[in-house]
Symmetry: D2
Subunit: 337 residues, 4 copies
């Protein structure tokens, strides 16, 4: 039994993580921390877990986690908090899957530019592996610190990887137009996520400055071997969960839809959670699954890629468990089907 702890247990990603891990035959959830002063039962924070988990949340305490012999920590903390707390666990030898953005951007200057504060843990930043198992599965298996990828970036990166790696498109023509359900905004109430404000409405937000932009560009640039620049526009959609990304790029030479679909199928032949589909995807078909559905098509001389996922599962907690499975020698799919 692998003993795990979850830091930051009150949000949606922590909830979905618990739901998945409760089904995992090789995992024991041993501790759940929360920043709240009180230490409520986890089932009080998340009533859906009533009768399924008897743990109480606790304030973060390294010694307690050590005493509990935690093997792996899932960090569900806000960015900033992760790089402040996680080093204390890493240096005691624990393995960590960090769901925040703190260890995703290799270049601390880029981090500072997009997140507005200096990175304060350059040592572990240099060791972190970007947790996209379809691209970095081997590095993840042996990593001590995995930077779990962002929800939007997974649709953009996996949606574009075959084209970018194969140098089939002009690298400065990429547009990613994404639509996300509201749970992606977290669990803290705000006017923009107040039901009567966002229900029955669609809007764009963070136009030109969403923090997932450099994450997408970093990985695609790695794949391309040269700088990739992306125009990324996220939209808020009146639904709980799901991300749908509509991706446009100009091809370098002519390809048929069939050729591209075959290319995608080959590229993802060993990726059990990437489904290359001939029909048009819908977020509903990925709901509550770890699948990402990809559809590629040539339309009016452009390449169009449609990518759909569940933002809380594939976009966060599911891929975290997929990474965990690779790190601890489980079949990649354990607890995820």
């Amino acid at each position: 039994m692998i003993k795990i702890a979850i830091l930051g247990g009150s949000g949606y990603t922590a909830l979905e993580l618990m739901k998945i891990l409760l089904r995992h035959p090789g995992v024991e959830i041993a501790a759940i921390s929360s920043r709240q002063e009180e230490t409520p039962l986890v089932a009080e924070l998340h009533p859906t877990l009533t009768g399924r988990i008897s743990l109480r949340t606790e304030r973060f305490d390294v010694n307690k986690l050590l005493a509990a012999k935690i093997d792996c920590v899932f960090g569900c903390l806000p960015h900033g908090a992760s790089m402040s707390l996680l080093p204390r666990l890493l240096e005691r030898g624990m393995r960590v899957i960090d769901l925040s953005a703190d260890y995703r951007l290799r270049d601390p200057n880029v981090y500072a530019q997009w997140y507005g504060e200096s990175h304060e843990d350059l040592a572990y930043l240099a060791q972190a592996v970007y947790g996209l198992p379809e691209l970095y599965g081997e590095e993840i298996a042996t990593a001590q610190l995995v930077a779990n990828p962002g929800c939007y970036p997974q649709t953009a990166i996996l949606g574009l990887a075959p084209l970018v790696a194969g140098r089939l498109i002009e690298l400065d023509t990429i547009i990613v137009d994404s639509k996300s359900g509201v749970s992606g905004a977290g669990r803290s109430p705000k006017l923009t996520t107040h039901f009567p404000e966002c229900n029955e409405s669609v809007s764009a937000y963070s136009v030109g400055n969403h923090r997932h932009t450099p994450e997408i560009e970093q990985t695609l640039s790695d794949l391309a071997g040269s700088a990739v620049r992306v125009l990324f526009t996220p939209h808020l959609i009146p639904m709980d969960r799901g991300i749908f990304s509509t991706i446009y790029a100009t091809p370098l030479r002519s390809h048929s839809t069939t050729e591209l679909r075959d290319l995608y199928k080959e590229f993802y032949a060993n990726a059990p959670f990437v489904r290359v589909i001939p029909h048009l995807p819908a977020t509903k078909y990925t709901f509550d699954t770890n699948f990402i559905d990809l559809h590629v098509q040539v339309v009016r001389d452009r390449v169009l890629v449609l990518a759909a996922e569940d933002n809380l599962i594939r976009g966060a907690s599911g891929v975290a468990v997929q990474n965990f499975n690779r790190m601890f020698g489980f079949d990649e799919r354990t607890a995820l089907l």
Copy 2:
């Protein structure tokens, strides 16, 4: 032109009030107050009004309102604030339609019991007219202070008035099971109205202690001439607007559905905004209207009444304008069709 002011301009009822009054041929919106430190343009608070209203919100100021020669004030303030501010306008002779609960409950002890604080304006409380135009239309016409009715109570009172006034039901058997859209909870973000919490979910709230209970009981008791006691259970429904009340009571003697429907039609013969319908109502059919749809049926020896309304229009701002029309001599329907 009647010059009006709106106090508390940032919420949903104020917005709907402005939308209606902008269509009213006899009204000039002259001032809008808000508690906020800044004095934003109304169109910044409510972007849907961009290009339609150029006013800036101002801090509440009696002298400015006097200087502006305001004829009528609509109070969209939270309870407590109303009874604190409105007397200052009333004593200067302005007429007031108060959309808060402060002047609805005749008995200050009942107010204190349900609202948790003493009533601090007994003088005007004694003069206030309960603003349900189908029952108190004449008193409203000459009132200085109208206590605009609550959203739920209108469905319960108008849904039961013919039965209670006619002494056709046992007065201690009334159950009002109400379903409301989320805008009824106001515009302040809370966890319970955070989109991913209340979307795709139904729940009951304020079971046994919702503050609209004494308002329903007061008016029904007046109609009955003896004490009426109601079991009222409100539910939160994942939609923006609309209230649907399912009302149960035990009849004192046997009536057919047709007899009861005829009774309702006669009772509301002169009420242009009450529609007694043979088909089952849906809140959608009352959306963005001032209508309240009533359906009455005898089912398994009970009387069942179904009442539907738009909680922001009929339930608040629409009926406020209906009251305004009566107070200032306009046709009751002006700006409401």
Copy 3:
């Protein structure tokens, strides 16, 4: 491995059944039938299953099912079709869990009255066990034919069972006011379930004549040992899934909320899927689970019970698997947590 077949594979209950059974360690899904002329891949009917199931739907064929050595058949057919097809399987010795209404009502006259046609399989009707495991768990274990219970009735019956069995309420005062998501109406498009018609709206339907009424009354009458009569009012709510029932009854004598809650806890002490909770339930907390959450409270001299469930899981496919587990000797919770 128990080999199962699903009859009527195109609807929502069949889909949820497959999702659960794909997780069941002791089950092999061996055949799925559909009435459609073509025999599409199951994953074409239900794109969410792409890559998870390779079966093709087939036309119903007894011999094929026999040849495939099917142990257990789940009937997801419309009422009427069940009693026409299932006897052919039963007489060959297969065990059957029927999710239709055909075998729920013991008295064929009651069936004829509510369903508008004569029952045509009186022999197996007499043998069928009503599949509510919390009440009839032992009979289910040995049954050949289990009549899986309706979605609404489970909330009403489990919500009232402790009161009715204990003779704590007046049996003719029961009101069940239920709110259901739209998936309960099935997968066939109709105007009433067309998105722009039912979204942003609440309505009542089948007032006084919903077919789940006699099912509720039959079981509660059995529990009471005398006739129970229920006034049941279902409502359509703009969400995918979930049923919330608000149940009212007049107590025979005075009880405190605590006494009643303790009674419920004791009554359901051995029922792993019934959660007696002190907080107010919400359908969201039962979403995609087999739990039914019950809250009991004394309010204004009435007993109020709030019951929430997922109509497709607990209300149909989850409880079907719970019954299956009992029938084939698995732990009741297998694949359901």
Copy 4:
């Protein structure tokens, strides 16, 4: 009083048209046709109109319309039906606003290519004026036949007109990524618009072949004076109403956001229903209005235009009344504010 008739009264655009025209001081709704065999009351087709309109729908009959001295006909028929019925009215001298697609595409070959059937009324097609009042307001004023524009095209055309007319962008780089509420799909139930299918889901549809593509290209090409080619991708969003178009293009030379916004403001200086706004639009802010909100921004060397409208009002019935007002000499805004 202008006497008008509506052909095809059962759908959503007809309903919204009636709601607007009932407020129009210069209009009398004299006849409403429907293809249905029965001739139900309009209020039975649209219960929200109960008590507001007493007309009964009738089968289409030219002579009855002549006898009723109809001045103007609004065609809310499906494409194909319009070009079959409307010539009979036009040749009797009636003026017509056709909300179908039949008279929008000047070139009958383009019509045949996209709509799969030959155009059968070339004579009136040659006379029809495209009903986008911000561009063709003068021609509309004197037209006998106005081809009311499509919902999506208005966002694309008005969103791009200043850039295209000013030759500020590369004409082959335009991408229009649109998101629409479900009412745009009409009122006929289909699986794709069945609530549990499209709720809580986002999907793309008609990728590369949506019929609004040639309409967008025709008008933009006219404005540009040379061929414009657009990649248009519509998406279905789980809400009743609203279209949000995210438009991308490559600028020919460098402009600041401020310069472009000023250009837009100047271009639409006399267009009361086009709001050029500095904040990010949301469909909610245009809900139930005839406004189209435009936001322009330079992002990462591209021009990004965000356009929001209510698809049933601005996208169909509202702009139809705007056209009507121009045709019959009313202030353009009558009944639309």
